[in-house]
Amino acid sequence: MAAPPVPTTPPPKPSPAPLVKRHHWVVRLTHWMTFVLLAGMIMSGLQIYGAYARFGERGGPYYVNAFEDHAFPTWSRLGGWLAGGLNWHFTLMWPLIAGGFLYLSYLALSGEWRSLLFRPRDIRGAIEMQKYYLRLRKDHPPQGKHNPLQKLAYTCIILLGVLSVLTGFAIYKPTQFSWLTALFGGFQAARYWHFWAVWIFTAFLIVHVILVFVVDPASLRAMISGWYRGRFPSHD
Protein backbone atom coordinates (compact mmCIF):
# COMPACT_ATOMS: atom_id res chain seq x y z
CA MET A 1 0.00 0.00 0.00
CA ALA A 2 1.44 3.33 -1.01
CA ALA A 3 2.08 5.94 1.64
CA PRO A 4 -0.11 9.00 1.43
CA PRO A 5 1.52 11.65 -0.68
CA VAL A 6 3.53 14.24 1.21
CA PRO A 7 2.03 17.65 0.65
CA THR A 8 4.43 19.73 -1.40
CA THR A 9 2.76 23.07 -0.76
CA PRO A 10 2.43 24.63 2.69
CA PRO A 11 -1.06 24.87 4.13
CA PRO A 12 -2.91 27.96 2.91
CA LYS A 13 -2.50 31.03 5.15
CA PRO A 14 -5.70 32.44 6.56
CA SER A 15 -6.96 34.88 3.99
CA PRO A 16 -6.57 38.56 4.93
CA ALA A 17 -9.65 40.22 6.36
CA PRO A 18 -11.84 41.51 3.56
CA LEU A 19 -12.13 45.22 2.91
CA VAL A 20 -15.73 46.20 3.54
CA LYS A 21 -17.67 49.45 3.34
CA ARG A 22 -18.65 50.22 6.90
CA HIS A 23 -19.93 53.75 7.49
CA HIS A 24 -22.04 55.94 5.20
CA TRP A 25 -20.80 59.50 4.76
CA VAL A 26 -23.75 60.82 6.79
CA VAL A 27 -22.59 58.74 9.74
CA ARG A 28 -18.96 59.85 9.39
CA LEU A 29 -19.86 63.50 8.92
CA THR A 30 -22.24 63.62 11.87
CA HIS A 31 -19.84 61.60 14.04
CA TRP A 32 -16.99 64.11 13.71
CA MET A 33 -19.34 67.11 13.68
CA THR A 34 -20.81 65.94 16.96
CA PHE A 35 -17.35 65.44 18.45
CA VAL A 36 -16.22 69.00 17.65
CA LEU A 37 -19.56 70.67 18.46
CA LEU A 38 -20.06 68.73 21.68
CA ALA A 39 -16.56 69.72 22.80
CA GLY A 40 -17.55 73.35 22.14
CA MET A 41 -20.88 72.92 23.96
CA ILE A 42 -19.19 71.39 27.00
CA MET A 43 -16.49 74.07 27.12
CA SER A 44 -18.94 76.97 26.75
CA GLY A 45 -21.19 75.17 29.24
CA LEU A 46 -18.39 75.10 31.82
CA GLN A 47 -17.94 78.84 31.22
CA ILE A 48 -21.67 79.40 31.89
CA TYR A 49 -21.56 77.12 34.93
CA GLY A 50 -18.91 79.38 36.50
CA ALA A 51 -21.46 82.22 36.81
CA TYR A 52 -23.41 80.25 39.43
CA ALA A 53 -21.60 77.07 40.36
CA ARG A 54 -24.29 75.28 42.35
CA PHE A 55 -27.78 73.82 41.97
CA GLY A 56 -30.94 74.54 43.94
CA GLU A 57 -33.13 77.55 44.64
CA ARG A 58 -31.39 80.55 46.21
CA GLY A 59 -30.93 80.04 49.93
CA GLY A 60 -30.84 76.26 49.56
CA PRO A 61 -31.07 73.39 50.05
CA TYR A 62 -28.51 72.64 47.36
CA TYR A 63 -28.11 69.44 45.35
CA VAL A 64 -25.19 67.09 45.93
CA ASN A 65 -22.47 68.38 43.60
CA ALA A 66 -18.75 67.59 43.69
CA PHE A 67 -18.13 70.80 41.71
CA GLU A 68 -20.04 73.18 43.99
CA ASP A 69 -18.50 76.68 43.76
CA HIS A 70 -15.75 75.19 41.62
CA ALA A 71 -14.16 77.26 38.85
CA PHE A 72 -13.05 75.10 35.95
CA PRO A 73 -9.59 75.87 34.52
CA THR A 74 -9.35 78.44 31.73
CA TRP A 75 -8.25 75.87 29.14
CA SER A 76 -11.50 73.95 29.64
CA ARG A 77 -13.74 76.97 29.06
CA LEU A 78 -14.92 78.77 25.94
CA GLY A 79 -16.25 82.30 25.74
CA GLY A 80 -14.11 84.30 28.17
CA TRP A 81 -17.07 85.60 30.18
CA LEU A 82 -20.71 84.70 30.75
CA ALA A 83 -22.10 86.47 27.66
CA GLY A 84 -19.33 84.98 25.49
CA GLY A 85 -20.06 81.50 26.84
CA LEU A 86 -23.81 81.95 26.25
CA ASN A 87 -23.29 83.18 22.69
CA TRP A 88 -21.04 80.21 21.84
CA HIS A 89 -23.48 77.80 23.51
CA PHE A 90 -26.54 79.22 21.72
CA THR A 91 -24.68 79.21 18.38
CA LEU A 92 -23.23 75.69 18.49
CA MET A 93 -26.54 74.22 19.67
CA TRP A 94 -28.10 74.67 16.20
CA PRO A 95 -25.57 72.68 14.11
CA LEU A 96 -25.41 70.10 16.92
CA ILE A 97 -29.19 69.60 16.86
CA ALA A 98 -29.20 69.63 13.03
CA GLY A 99 -26.47 66.98 12.96
CA GLY A 100 -28.41 64.89 15.46
CA PHE A 101 -31.55 65.07 13.32
CA LEU A 102 -29.59 64.21 10.17
CA TYR A 103 -28.00 61.21 11.87
CA LEU A 104 -31.24 59.89 13.37
CA SER A 105 -33.06 60.38 10.06
CA TYR A 106 -30.32 58.41 8.29
CA LEU A 107 -30.55 55.61 10.86
CA ALA A 108 -34.32 55.43 10.48
CA LEU A 109 -34.48 55.64 6.67
CA SER A 110 -31.55 53.36 5.86
CA GLY A 111 -32.51 50.63 8.31
CA GLU A 112 -29.06 50.97 9.93
CA TRP A 113 -30.83 51.35 13.27
CA ARG A 114 -31.14 47.55 13.29
CA SER A 115 -27.40 47.10 13.79
CA LEU A 116 -27.26 49.84 16.45
CA LEU A 117 -30.39 49.81 18.57
CA PHE A 118 -30.19 47.67 21.70
CA ARG A 119 -33.30 45.54 21.93
CA PRO A 120 -34.49 42.98 24.51
CA ARG A 121 -33.23 40.16 22.30
CA ASP A 122 -29.69 41.55 22.69
CA ILE A 123 -29.72 40.93 26.44
CA ARG A 124 -28.48 37.32 26.17
CA GLY A 125 -25.69 38.38 23.79
CA ALA A 126 -24.73 41.24 26.08
CA ILE A 127 -24.31 38.80 28.96
CA GLU A 128 -22.12 36.51 26.80
CA MET A 129 -20.05 39.52 25.73
CA GLN A 130 -19.65 40.62 29.33
CA LYS A 131 -18.52 37.07 30.24
CA TYR A 132 -15.89 37.27 27.50
CA TYR A 133 -14.57 40.59 28.82
CA LEU A 134 -14.51 39.15 32.37
CA ARG A 135 -12.56 36.15 30.97
CA LEU A 136 -15.34 33.78 32.00
CA ARG A 137 -15.47 32.59 28.41
CA LYS A 138 -12.50 32.10 26.08
CA ASP A 139 -13.82 32.69 22.58
CA HIS A 140 -15.19 36.00 21.35
CA PRO A 141 -18.92 35.58 20.75
CA PRO A 142 -19.89 35.96 17.09
CA GLN A 143 -21.21 39.39 16.25
CA GLY A 144 -22.36 41.57 13.40
CA LYS A 145 -21.34 45.18 12.89
CA HIS A 146 -21.52 45.86 16.62
CA ASN A 147 -21.60 43.54 19.58
CA PRO A 148 -24.55 43.77 21.99
CA LEU A 149 -22.61 45.79 24.56
CA GLN A 150 -21.69 48.30 21.87
CA LYS A 151 -25.34 48.50 20.90
CA LEU A 152 -26.21 49.17 24.52
CA ALA A 153 -23.56 51.91 24.79
CA TYR A 154 -24.51 53.59 21.50
CA THR A 155 -28.23 53.43 22.26
CA CYS A 156 -27.64 55.00 25.66
CA ILE A 157 -25.42 57.76 24.29
CA ILE A 158 -28.07 58.68 21.70
CA LEU A 159 -30.65 58.84 24.50
CA LEU A 160 -28.24 61.00 26.49
CA GLY A 161 -27.97 63.34 23.49
CA VAL A 162 -31.76 63.62 23.34
CA LEU A 163 -31.92 64.23 27.09
CA SER A 164 -29.25 66.92 26.85
CA VAL A 165 -31.23 68.77 24.18
CA LEU A 166 -34.47 68.48 26.16
CA THR A 167 -32.94 69.57 29.49
CA GLY A 168 -31.20 72.34 27.53
CA PHE A 169 -34.53 73.69 26.27
CA ALA A 170 -36.00 73.30 29.75
CA ILE A 171 -33.29 75.65 31.04
CA TYR A 172 -33.32 77.95 28.00
CA LYS A 173 -37.07 78.72 28.17
CA PRO A 174 -38.38 77.55 31.56
CA THR A 175 -41.51 79.70 31.22
CA GLN A 176 -42.40 78.95 27.59
CA PHE A 177 -41.59 75.25 28.10
CA SER A 178 -42.74 75.15 31.72
CA TRP A 179 -44.28 71.68 31.16
CA LEU A 180 -40.90 70.36 30.01
CA THR A 181 -39.08 72.04 32.88
CA ALA A 182 -41.59 70.54 35.31
CA LEU A 183 -41.03 67.12 33.72
CA PHE A 184 -37.37 67.28 34.77
CA GLY A 185 -38.30 68.40 38.29
CA GLY A 186 -38.02 72.16 37.77
CA PHE A 187 -35.45 74.66 36.54
CA GLN A 188 -32.67 73.80 38.98
CA ALA A 189 -33.16 70.05 38.54
CA ALA A 190 -33.02 70.46 34.75
CA ARG A 191 -29.75 72.40 35.13
CA TYR A 192 -28.48 69.59 37.33
CA TRP A 193 -29.27 66.84 34.79
CA HIS A 194 -27.88 68.99 31.99
CA PHE A 195 -24.62 69.24 33.94
CA TRP A 196 -24.57 65.52 34.69
CA ALA A 197 -24.78 64.81 30.98
CA VAL A 198 -21.38 66.51 30.60
CA TRP A 199 -19.70 63.91 32.81
CA ILE A 200 -21.46 60.96 31.19
CA PHE A 201 -20.42 62.25 27.74
CA THR A 202 -16.85 62.73 28.98
CA ALA A 203 -16.69 59.24 30.51
CA PHE A 204 -18.16 57.78 27.31
CA LEU A 205 -15.56 59.59 25.21
CA ILE A 206 -12.65 58.24 27.27
CA VAL A 207 -13.91 54.62 27.23
CA HIS A 208 -14.88 54.91 23.55
CA VAL A 209 -11.40 56.04 22.46
CA ILE A 210 -9.62 53.44 24.63
CA LEU A 211 -11.75 50.63 23.19
CA VAL A 212 -11.15 51.78 19.62
CA PHE A 213 -7.39 51.46 20.06
CA VAL A 214 -7.39 48.38 22.29
CA VAL A 215 -10.07 46.28 20.62
CA ASP A 216 -10.45 47.35 17.02
CA PRO A 217 -8.06 50.03 15.69
CA ALA A 218 -9.32 49.40 12.16
CA SER A 219 -12.61 51.03 13.18
CA LEU A 220 -10.89 54.43 13.33
CA ARG A 221 -10.10 54.24 9.62
CA ALA A 222 -13.67 53.12 8.99
CA MET A 223 -15.04 56.20 10.75
CA ILE A 224 -12.77 58.43 8.63
CA SER A 225 -12.85 56.89 5.12
CA GLY A 226 -15.80 54.56 5.48
CA TRP A 227 -13.74 51.44 4.65
CA TYR A 228 -12.99 48.75 7.18
CA ARG A 229 -10.49 45.86 7.18
CA GLY A 230 -10.53 44.36 10.64
CA ARG A 231 -11.76 41.71 13.04
CA PHE A 232 -15.49 42.16 12.63
CA PRO A 233 -16.23 42.42 8.91
CA SER A 234 -19.75 40.97 8.96
CA HIS A 235 -22.77 43.20 8.96
CA ASP A 236 -26.18 42.51 10.44
Binding site: V36, W88, F90
Partner: protein
Protein backbone atom coordinates in the same frame (compact mmCIF):
# COMPACT_ATOMS: atom_id res chain seq x y z
CA UNK B 1 -5.10 68.75 -4.44
CA UNK B 2 -6.27 67.35 -1.19
CA UNK B 3 -8.18 64.09 -1.21
CA UNK B 4 -11.32 63.55 0.73
CA UNK B 5 -9.83 61.22 3.30
CA UNK B 6 -7.01 63.61 4.10
CA UNK B 7 -9.50 66.45 4.30
CA UNK B 8 -11.68 64.58 6.77
CA UNK B 9 -8.63 63.74 8.86
CA UNK B 10 -7.60 67.35 8.79
CA UNK B 11 -11.06 68.50 9.79
CA UNK B 12 -11.17 65.97 12.61
CA UNK B 13 -7.85 67.23 13.93
CA UNK B 14 -8.32 70.93 13.29
CA UNK B 15 -11.68 71.23 15.00
CA UNK B 16 -10.60 70.37 18.54
CA UNK B 17 -7.27 72.13 18.04
CA UNK B 18 -8.93 75.39 17.08
CA UNK B 19 -11.38 75.00 19.93
CA UNK B 20 -8.50 74.39 22.33
CA UNK B 21 -6.82 77.53 21.08
CA UNK B 22 -10.07 79.37 21.68
CA UNK B 23 -10.20 78.75 25.44
CA UNK B 24 -11.31 81.67 27.50
CA UNK B 25 -11.95 83.48 24.27
CA UNK B 26 -15.16 85.13 23.08
CA UNK B 27 -14.37 84.51 19.41
CA UNK B 28 -12.15 87.52 18.76
CA UNK B 29 -12.78 89.96 15.96
CA UNK B 30 -13.19 87.14 13.46
CA UNK B 31 -15.86 85.04 15.18
CA UNK B 32 -17.55 87.41 17.66
CA UNK B 33 -19.62 89.18 14.95
CA UNK B 34 -20.85 85.80 13.73
CA UNK B 35 -21.83 84.79 17.27
CA UNK B 36 -23.70 88.09 17.64
CA UNK B 37 -25.48 87.47 14.32
CA UNK B 38 -26.62 84.09 15.59
CA UNK B 39 -27.64 85.77 18.85
CA UNK B 40 -29.88 88.11 16.81
CA UNK B 41 -31.33 85.05 15.06
CA UNK B 42 -31.96 83.53 18.50
CA UNK B 43 -33.70 86.78 19.52
CA UNK B 44 -35.99 86.31 16.56
CA UNK B 45 -36.64 82.65 17.43
CA UNK B 46 -37.26 83.60 21.06
CA UNK B 47 -39.68 86.40 20.16
CA UNK B 48 -41.52 85.03 17.12
CA UNK B 49 -41.43 81.26 17.62
CA UNK B 50 -41.06 80.40 21.30
CA UNK B 51 -42.72 83.33 23.08
CA UNK B 52 -46.46 83.13 23.53
CA UNK B 53 -48.26 86.31 24.53
CA UNK B 54 -50.96 84.25 26.23
CA UNK B 55 -48.88 81.69 28.08
CA UNK B 56 -48.65 82.52 31.76
CA UNK B 57 -45.68 81.62 33.91
CA UNK B 58 -46.47 79.08 36.66
CA UNK B 59 -47.33 80.56 40.05
CA UNK B 60 -46.21 79.21 43.39
CA UNK B 61 -47.69 79.13 46.88
CA UNK B 62 -46.40 81.84 49.21
CA UNK B 63 -44.76 79.13 51.32
CA UNK B 64 -42.38 78.46 48.41
CA UNK B 65 -40.76 81.91 48.63
CA UNK B 66 -37.01 81.41 48.79
CA UNK B 67 -34.82 82.58 51.64
CA UNK B 68 -32.69 84.73 49.35
CA UNK B 69 -33.04 86.96 46.32
CA UNK B 70 -29.78 88.75 45.58
CA UNK B 71 -29.75 92.47 44.89
CA UNK B 72 -28.03 93.77 41.76
CA UNK B 73 -27.26 97.32 40.59
CA UNK B 74 -24.44 98.82 38.55
CA UNK B 75 -23.82 101.97 40.63
CA UNK B 76 -20.95 101.81 43.14
CA UNK B 77 -23.47 102.16 45.98
CA UNK B 78 -27.15 101.27 46.21
CA UNK B 79 -29.10 103.88 44.21
CA UNK B 80 -31.40 105.92 46.46
CA UNK B 81 -33.66 108.90 45.88
CA UNK B 82 -32.78 112.22 47.54
CA UNK B 83 -36.43 113.12 47.73
CA UNK B 84 -38.75 110.10 47.29
CA UNK B 85 -41.86 112.32 47.36
CA UNK B 86 -40.69 114.18 44.25
CA UNK B 87 -40.26 110.95 42.27
CA UNK B 88 -42.49 110.55 39.21
CA UNK B 89 -42.60 107.96 36.43
CA UNK B 90 -42.50 109.74 33.07
CA UNK B 91 -44.47 107.91 30.38
CA UNK B 92 -43.84 109.31 26.91
CA UNK B 93 -42.84 108.61 23.32
CA UNK B 94 -45.40 107.31 20.86
CA UNK B 95 -48.41 108.07 23.06
CA UNK B 96 -51.44 110.35 22.76
CA UNK B 97 -51.10 111.58 26.33
CA UNK B 98 -47.70 111.67 28.08
CA UNK B 99 -48.06 110.93 31.79
CA UNK B 100 -46.20 111.81 34.95
CA UNK B 101 -47.23 109.27 37.59
CA UNK B 102 -46.61 109.12 41.33
CA UNK B 103 -46.60 105.82 43.23
CA UNK B 104 -50.11 106.70 44.45
CA UNK B 105 -51.22 107.19 40.82
CA UNK B 106 -49.74 103.80 39.88
CA UNK B 107 -51.39 102.13 42.86
CA UNK B 108 -54.74 103.51 41.73
CA UNK B 109 -54.40 101.57 38.44
CA UNK B 110 -55.36 97.87 38.14
CA UNK B 111 -53.24 95.80 40.51
CA UNK B 112 -51.60 92.46 39.78
CA UNK B 113 -50.02 90.16 42.37
CA UNK B 114 -48.24 86.90 41.68
CA UNK B 115 -45.69 84.58 43.25
CA UNK B 116 -43.31 83.45 40.52
CA UNK B 117 -39.84 82.12 39.89
CA UNK B 118 -37.10 84.58 39.03
CA UNK B 119 -34.52 83.31 36.51
CA UNK B 120 -31.11 84.96 36.47
CA UNK B 121 -28.90 84.64 33.40
CA UNK B 122 -26.19 83.38 35.77
CA UNK B 123 -28.21 80.26 36.46
CA UNK B 124 -29.71 80.91 39.87
CA UNK B 125 -33.41 81.13 40.54
CA UNK B 126 -35.54 82.35 43.42
CA UNK B 127 -39.24 82.66 44.19
CA UNK B 128 -40.85 85.89 45.39
CA UNK B 129 -44.19 87.69 45.32
CA UNK B 130 -44.53 90.92 43.33
CA UNK B 131 -47.27 93.57 43.36
CA UNK B 132 -47.72 96.14 40.64
CA UNK B 133 -49.61 97.50 37.67
CA UNK B 134 -49.45 95.77 34.27
CA UNK B 135 -47.48 97.76 31.70
CA UNK B 136 -50.43 97.16 29.37
CA UNK B 137 -52.68 99.14 31.76
CA UNK B 138 -50.26 102.09 31.65
CA UNK B 139 -50.09 101.81 27.84
CA UNK B 140 -53.87 102.00 27.72
CA UNK B 141 -53.91 104.99 30.09
CA UNK B 142 -51.43 107.01 28.01
CA UNK B 143 -52.99 106.05 24.69
CA UNK B 144 -50.09 104.15 23.13
CA UNK B 145 -50.01 104.80 19.37
CA UNK B 146 -50.14 101.92 16.84
CA UNK B 147 -46.64 102.87 15.55
CA UNK B 148 -45.13 101.82 18.89
CA UNK B 149 -43.16 98.58 18.50
CA UNK B 150 -40.74 98.74 21.42
CA UNK B 151 -40.62 100.03 24.96
CA UNK B 152 -37.60 101.63 26.57
CA UNK B 153 -37.23 101.51 30.36
CA UNK B 154 -34.77 103.94 32.01
CA UNK B 155 -33.49 104.03 35.58
CA UNK B 156 -31.60 106.31 37.97
CA UNK B 157 -29.02 103.52 38.45
CA UNK B 158 -26.09 105.10 36.54
CA UNK B 159 -28.02 105.06 33.28
CA UNK B 160 -29.00 101.38 33.40
CA UNK B 161 -31.74 100.80 30.84
CA UNK B 162 -33.44 98.07 28.80
CA UNK B 163 -35.30 97.87 25.50
CA UNK B 164 -38.22 95.48 25.20
CA UNK B 165 -40.29 94.15 22.32
CA UNK B 166 -43.88 95.32 22.59
CA UNK B 167 -45.42 91.83 22.86
CA UNK B 168 -43.33 90.97 25.94
CA UNK B 169 -44.08 94.35 27.50
CA UNK B 170 -47.84 93.86 26.94
CA UNK B 171 -47.81 90.35 28.41
CA UNK B 172 -50.35 90.20 31.27
CA UNK B 173 -47.61 89.27 33.76
CA UNK B 174 -45.31 92.16 32.82
CA UNK B 175 -45.80 94.73 35.56
CA UNK B 176 -44.36 97.89 37.04
CA UNK B 177 -43.81 96.55 40.55
CA UNK B 178 -44.08 98.78 43.60
CA UNK B 179 -44.30 95.91 46.10
CA UNK B 180 -42.46 92.72 46.95
CA UNK B 181 -43.42 89.96 49.39
CA UNK B 182 -46.37 91.98 50.78
CA UNK B 183 -44.21 95.07 51.47
CA UNK B 184 -43.28 98.19 49.55
CA UNK B 185 -40.48 97.47 47.08
CA UNK B 186 -37.18 97.62 49.04
CA UNK B 187 -34.28 99.79 47.88
CA UNK B 188 -32.21 96.68 47.29
CA UNK B 189 -34.71 95.57 44.63
CA UNK B 190 -35.23 98.83 42.81
CA UNK B 191 -37.41 101.15 44.97
CA UNK B 192 -39.61 102.92 44.32
CA UNK B 193 -40.56 101.10 41.11
CA UNK B 194 -39.12 98.31 38.98
CA UNK B 195 -40.08 96.34 35.93
CA UNK B 196 -40.96 92.71 36.59
CA UNK B 197 -41.93 89.76 34.39
CA UNK B 198 -41.57 86.00 34.82
CA UNK B 199 -41.14 85.77 31.02
CA UNK B 200 -37.72 87.47 31.08
CA UNK B 201 -34.29 87.00 32.57
CA UNK B 202 -33.47 89.24 35.53
CA UNK B 203 -31.24 91.66 33.62
CA UNK B 204 -34.21 92.67 31.42
CA UNK B 205 -36.20 93.88 34.43
CA UNK B 206 -35.11 97.47 34.91
CA UNK B 207 -34.99 98.62 38.55
CA UNK B 208 -35.07 102.18 39.96
CA UNK B 209 -37.38 103.22 37.11
CA UNK B 210 -37.70 106.84 36.03
CA UNK B 211 -39.28 106.57 32.60
CA UNK B 212 -41.16 104.37 30.16
CA UNK B 213 -40.87 105.39 26.51
CA UNK B 214 -42.77 103.83 23.61
CA UNK B 215 -40.66 103.82 20.44
CA UNK B 216 -40.61 102.66 16.83
CA UNK B 217 -36.85 101.97 16.86
CA UNK B 218 -35.39 99.15 18.89
CA UNK B 219 -33.65 100.46 22.04
CA UNK B 220 -30.53 98.64 23.21
CA UNK B 221 -29.77 97.83 26.80
CA UNK B 222 -26.99 98.05 29.35
CA UNK B 223 -25.94 94.37 29.26
CA UNK B 224 -27.49 93.69 25.87
CA UNK B 225 -25.13 96.19 24.20
CA UNK B 226 -22.19 94.31 25.72
CA UNK B 227 -23.18 90.97 24.23
CA UNK B 228 -25.98 89.51 26.36
CA UNK B 229 -29.03 88.29 24.42
CA UNK B 230 -31.32 91.23 23.69
CA UNK B 231 -34.59 89.30 23.90
CA UNK B 232 -33.61 87.58 27.15
CA UNK B 233 -36.88 85.64 27.34
CA UNK B 234 -37.35 82.55 29.45
Amino acid sequence: MIDRRAFLRLAAGAGPASLAAACGWDGGNAVRPLLLDISRFNNWVGEKVLFSKNRLAPQYPIADRTAQLPSYFISPAMPTLQDPKAWRLEVSGLVRQPLSLSIADLQALPRTTYTVKHHCVEGWSAIATWHGVPVSAVAERCGMLPQARYVRFDSFDSGYMNGWDLASAMHPQTILAYGMNDNPLPESHGAPLRLYSPTKLGYKMTKYLVSVTFTAERPGGYWEDQGYPWFGGV
